[in-house]
Symmetry: C2
């Protein structure tokens, strides 16, 4: 049996649950070790049932291992679930409270017999997903490698007159030829004052001389994501930009240097945030320092001042301090970090910053 | 005041609600007439509060009209919502039961005073969104136009040896230069037997001679989407493919011919489904005939055998019959339809099929 399903079996025992109903596509992808969409999974002591609709059943049969029984959803997922629960004599099942809408919960409650207990669970699979295995690290490393190449490619085509969306077009084409499945999220190309919006929507604006360009991008390699940011400058760098850039860069480096297993996420956030605040730019760094990356671009752990849990081996996350001066410009420098038994590895380390 | 908000005011009165809490990004985009992300909206008699985090406040200030008060989320959205409810003396609010997780609902319930009644609502904004105005139709038409051009471009580069992902790369680049913000969804390029999976994940497979290639793609133009499918053939067409193609094409045409205002969606679905079944391929057409398109690629109305509501003026939807022969190939022909007072308009009509 697949070791991830084995872990769920352990959790079922621990939580005295008969079965676990999984509704998050990413969690299902993780447990089935495949790319899953529009599906549901029921893991019980007796086996795994993979529910999907007619668009995917044939594909699923080719991809999933023998331990998954594929069932076509006919009427509604909850009708199918009710039948499976009856067949397996389940008396209580855990469900993912963060991945089921209030409406879906109501429907589920209505379709299942009253005697069946529904137990809200939280982050069961997400917690497992934090510890990446060698295979996952290899895919993420590949995703980061493609992104690093894409930044080098982007740097070559940046010039006054080209539009933000055109830069995105060229880079997106490039990553596909490098073997990426697609971009991990809409590529952000933010020029001039647009860079002061941390999550700018890439626009038709033309790049201009004597302005910065912030690029935030990642790719999907066999389901695993990357996420990196670099900020470039076209033409003559202004003293304010130079100063802000140096502060962000040092915050990025200090945070990375202070990383080690068992360090708390909040400590790392504080290092970068304290440094930026110490230089008078604290109010211009509004977002958290980083986030986990894996099957999702944003997943556990969060690297924020509120997260005091210690960082553990196998974690993959970003370190991305930024300073955003409204109406002027923004600078963000985002790296990706592997925390392993051997120490800190920076797969994006070869990319200039 | 913006007419969409006015309609919500009417609904509030009708449903005896003090306010409406909107958590769907697409519904917020619709009501604010902007592209909205990571935000929430509270519409009450007294005004609209737009909640977002520090990454977006500056951008929102530049984009939203004066009728929206922008509030930065500090701790959690539900803490901010509680303060707003108190400030405005609200005694009951509607929320979107399909767009709030069970976990979020629990949090909301906990943060808000017990005396405040929470009323689940469904499809309030989605129903309004079905009737597109001239401005929306113009954007969708532009999105369809870019997609039509992209199909013509794609047809030129299809040849044995090119990989599915490379076709996607070239087409994605092309649409950005045509003014699209991005692809509306992961472009599907499905060659040979891959075309028998209705929602194939575009792969590294090389196109081969004497095989079909199915391309399903759409673009995002200023937030509005398109969605079209064409199936091509490289080389010598087999008699089975020719037969299947002709049946799908005729099903597509018959369905479109039977469209008119007040027709039921289920009737249209039946026309295409009956025709395909009549030729013995009924079991190979598993999905519904079509779906609405607008701010989302899939939105109301559904064109399925289960939807007996009449089609009304202003609706935009797809007609996309398909036949998928497992392990062999699939054919789908998808057009987009505008249903207007003047009749049926097919913005993708100029594209060969």
């Amino acid at each position: 049996m697949n070791p991830r399903i084995k872990k769920i079996h352990g959790l079922l025992k621990e939580k005295k649950l008969d079965a676990f109903f999984v509704s998050s596509a990413h969690n299902i992808s993780y447990l089935t070790e495949s790319i899953s969409r529009d599906s549901f999974l029921l893991v019980s002591k007796d086996g795994c049932v993979y529910f999907t609709d007619s668009r995917y059943t044939a594909e699923a049969r080719g991809v999933l291992g023998r331990s998954f029984k594929i069932e076509k959803i006919v009427d509604s997922i909850f009708r199918s679930l009710a039948l499976a629960c009856k067949r397996e004599n389940l008396t209580n099942i855990g469900f993912e409270e963060a991945h089921l809408s209030y409406a879906a919960f109501k429907k589920m409650r209505k379709e299942l017999p009253e005697s069946l207990r529904l137990v809200p669970t939280r982050d069961l699979v997400e917690t497992l997903r934090q510890k990446k295995n060698a295979n996952e690290l290899a895919r993420i490393k590949k995703a980061v490698g493609i992104t690093v190449a894409a930044f080098r490619y982007a740097e070559k085509i940046l010039k006054p007159g080209i539009r933000e969306l055109e830069v995105a077009a060229e880079v997106e084409r490039f990553i596909r030829y490098q073997g990426a499945l697609c971009a991990a999220f809409d590529i952000i190309v933010a020029s001039g004052p647009n860079s002061s919006y941390p999550h700018h929507i890439t626009s038709h604006r033309k790049l201009r001389n004597n302005e910065p360009v912030l690029i935030d991008m990642g790719v999907d390699y066999e389901g695993y994501k990357s996420d990196l940011t670099r900020t470039f400058f076209l033409g003559r760098i202004t003293p304010l930009y130079r100063r802000v850039y140096a502060i962000v860069l040092q915050a990025n480096q200090l945070a990375i240097e202070s990383l080690k297993i068992r360090a708390r996420a909040s400590e790392i956030d504080n290092v970068a945030r304290g440094f930026i605040a110490g230089h008078g730019f604290g109010e211009f760094f509004g977002h958290t320092l980083g986030h986990g990356v894996g099957l999702e671009v944003h997943e556990a752990p969060r690297i924020s001042g509120k997260d005091s849990a210690p960082l553990t081996s196998g974690m993959v996350f970003t370190i991305e301090p930024g300073i955003y001066l409204p109406g002027k410009f923004g600078v963000r420098i985002e790296d990706m970090i592997f925390l392993t038994e051997k120490g800190v590895e920076i797969p994006s380390g070869s990319l200039d910053k």
